[in-house]
């Protein structure tokens, strides 16, 4: 009898330790909680209507794709404050090419390459000139937004995609009448990045680079290259999110992506990513990004003034940081975290 009680005790401890070690579960519960609150308290439960779910999953995905790659970059120990500006700059490249008569697929490819290149420049400047990425990308944020404003004159431009139904459907269509294609892209990108971060050796190099750069270097890991690659991936993913957003809204706006840089960092932090690098999980960032997206979407249905969003973001970011600090200490005692 003693043995069985001991065993169940052990089992219980294992379950609770698993909960703590699996950081992403904590964030998942925050998401569920917010979902429940919005579902119950939105007037007429309109939050959970099919239409809004589609809006949430499609518009949310544009941002969450950015958050996922920003989370990866933060694990490598760097920031990117220029994601919003890269987004608008590459959007401008796309719409200019498209309007100049370049094939839509080619326009998309060139846009992704341009996004990658802008990210690559951020990375090269950061590692070669040894400037903190906070500064490099702060500069890039102002620069690319400015360039886009200059070139576009700050004007909106319409995007007509009726002649390209295939591309339109592939990027912003609806699968099975429910699931927006954007969300599937988000899931797909998350799966790929998760596999790389937690199962591929390159992911291990990203973690070690962010956690202890000197140790990684001493073991022959080219930390500069790792960081440049992460910046480049951020650029590509952001360009893709930008195109996605234009496809949905059928407009180019010079204000697109404004404020996304801090929101993306907030999503990563809510998801348990350390600002110092080396710590975080992609599942955590996944739910963290959805938490930020659901707050934005849900508050609209609560009929609360938009400005409340910022207030609530603030409260949620600081409180999750406090909670995750507490769990970090517990996690250290219990061992490494469970990634997936």
């Amino acid at each position: 009898m003693n043995a069985t009680s001991n065993q169940s005790d052990k089992k219980r401890r294992k379950v609770s330790s698993y909960f703590i070690r699996m950081r992403s579960l904590n964030v998942f519960f925050i998401f569920v909680l917010l979902f429940a609150v919005f579902a119950i308290f939105s007037p007429g439960h309109r939050f959970t209507s099919g239409e809004n779910m589609r809006i949430f999953l499609s518009t949310g995905a544009e941002f969450t794709i950015v958050a996922i790659v920003v989370g990866m970059l933060m694990i490598s120990g760097e920031f990117d404050l220029s994601v919003g500006s890269i987004l608008v700059f590459t959007s401008y490249i796309f719409i200019t090419l498209f309007h100049a008569g370049v094939h839509i697929l080619l326009s998309l490819i060139i846009t992704l390459i341009a996004g990658g290149f802008v990210g690559y420049i951020n990375g090269i400047i950061t590692v070669k000139a040894r400037i903190p990425s906070f500064i490099t990308t702060l500069g890039a944020m102002l620069l690319w937004r400015g360039v886009t404003m200059l070139l576009s004159g700050g004007l909106q431009q319409g995007l007509v995609l009726t002649e390209n139904p295939v591309m339109y459907k592939a990027i912003t269509g609806v699968v099975g009448k429910i699931m927006p294609a954007q969300f599937l892209w988000f899931i797909g990108i998350t799966v790929i990045i998760t596999l790389i971060m937690h199962f591929h050796k390159f992911g291990n190099w990203i973690f070690t680079t962010g956690d202890n750069k000197m140790a990684a270097r001493a073991m022959g890991i080219n930390t500069d290259r790792i960081k440049v690659v992460c910046f480049t991936v951020v650029g590509i993913a952001v360009a893709f999110a930008g195109v996605m957003q234009m496809f949905r809204s059928e407009t180019f706006s010079a204000r697109a992506g404004d404020g996304w840089e801090l929101k993306a960092i907030a999503a990563a932090v809510v998801g348990g990513t350390a600002l110092t690098g080396g710590m975080g999980t992609m599942m955590g960032v996944f739910w963290g990004a959805l938490v930020i997206a659901i707050i934005e979407n849900g508050l609209i249905f609560m009929r609360i003034q938009y400005w409340w969003t910022f207030t609530i973001f603030g409260v949620i970011i600081v409180s999750t940081a406090i909670i995750s600090r507490y769990f970090d200490q517990r996690r250290t005692m219990l061992g490494a975290e469970k990634n997936v």
Binding site: H200, D211, N212, R217, A218, G220, T332
Partner: protein, 272 residues
């Protein structure tokens, strides 16, 4: 002036000392000959001749700024020497970067730079050398098994290969770093101040690890300024002060008091 000094030393140490130290039948694992290093106007190393034999623990002792780290950084490829030659297993080598040093089998364990604290033990052991199954995806099962194997071999008891390094004690961390060089079959391990921040008990543990490495046939350079620690495990002492060698002496030919006296007074041992 300094050239003269170096020349003078060449006459005494380069020719005589190695002959006395090393039996001619055995080629030393590492022989650094007449190493000079300048940092601007500071002569950090002055004509140093340093050898390490197979399966030997050498205590590289000296106060802060004596040139211990500089000597080791030259050996491990972080700095080039301004003058001098390095022989590894009898062959002249040019160790121009840390990767080449690793390739030769020279592994350096720095206390702060060895491990990533928020990453699991298994991942730390295989950092940069992960075994993969396909397309670069890691063989995590093997990483867990092999890392635990290496750690157990060292006489260290850790249960969970998934535990974060941050949860380990200082001695255990040194153990993980040393298990890594053991696993990857280093020929020479340089331990840079491995006991500096450790408790008495943990220091003892690290000294035991060194004996274990020796038992595996691995040579150890033990850098320390704690002569008491060095005296417990090292078979030979190489003492530096201000970039000059004070003495290079076997344990049986000296006493701890004599070594302390040398370090404190900073005077050169005149070889008889």
């Amino acid at each position: 002036m300094s050239d003269k000094q170096a020349d003078a030393k060449e006459g005494t140490s380069a020719e005589k000392v190695p002959l006395v130290q090393v039996p001619l039948v055995q080629v030393p694992l590492v022989r650094m000959v007449d190493i000079d290093k300048w940092f601007g106007k500071v002569n950090a190393l002055q004509g140093i001749n340093f050898t390490v034999n197979h399966g030997e623990i050498v205590g590289l002792v000296g106060d802060n700024g004596a040139g211990k780290s500089t000597l080791i950084k030259i050996l491990s490829g972080f700095y080039p020497a301004d003058r001098g030659e390095i022989y590894f297993e009898g062959k002249k080598v040019n160790i121009s970067n840390p990767k080449l040093a690793k390739k030769l089998g020279i592994e350096t364990v720095y206390q702060e730079q060895a491990l990533a604290p928020h990453i699991s033990i298994a991942r730390n052991v295989f950092m940069g050398r992960e075994p993969t199954r396909f397309m670069g995806f890691m063989d995590r099962g093997m990483m867990d098994r092999e890392s635990m194997g290496a750690i157990t071999k060292l006489g260290l008891r850790i249960k969970d290969p998934e535990a974060m390094v941050e949860a380990l004690s200082g001695g255990q961390r040194q153990g993980v770093a040393i298990a890594r060089v053991l696993y990857f079959k280093a020929k020479l391990v340089v331990l840079d101040e491995p006991t500096i921040a450790l408790s008495v008990k943990e220091s003892q543990q690290v000294l035991d690890f060194m004996q274990q490495l020796k038992a595996e046939g691995i040579s150890v350079i033990f850098i320390t300024h704690n002569i008491f620690h060095a005296f417990q495990v090292a078979e030979r002492f190489f003492i530096l002060a201000r970039g000059e060698m004070l003495t290079d002496v076997r344990k049986e030919d000296t006493t701890i008091d004599h070594l302390i006296d040398l370090i404190v007074s900073g005077r050169r041992e005149i070889k008889s």
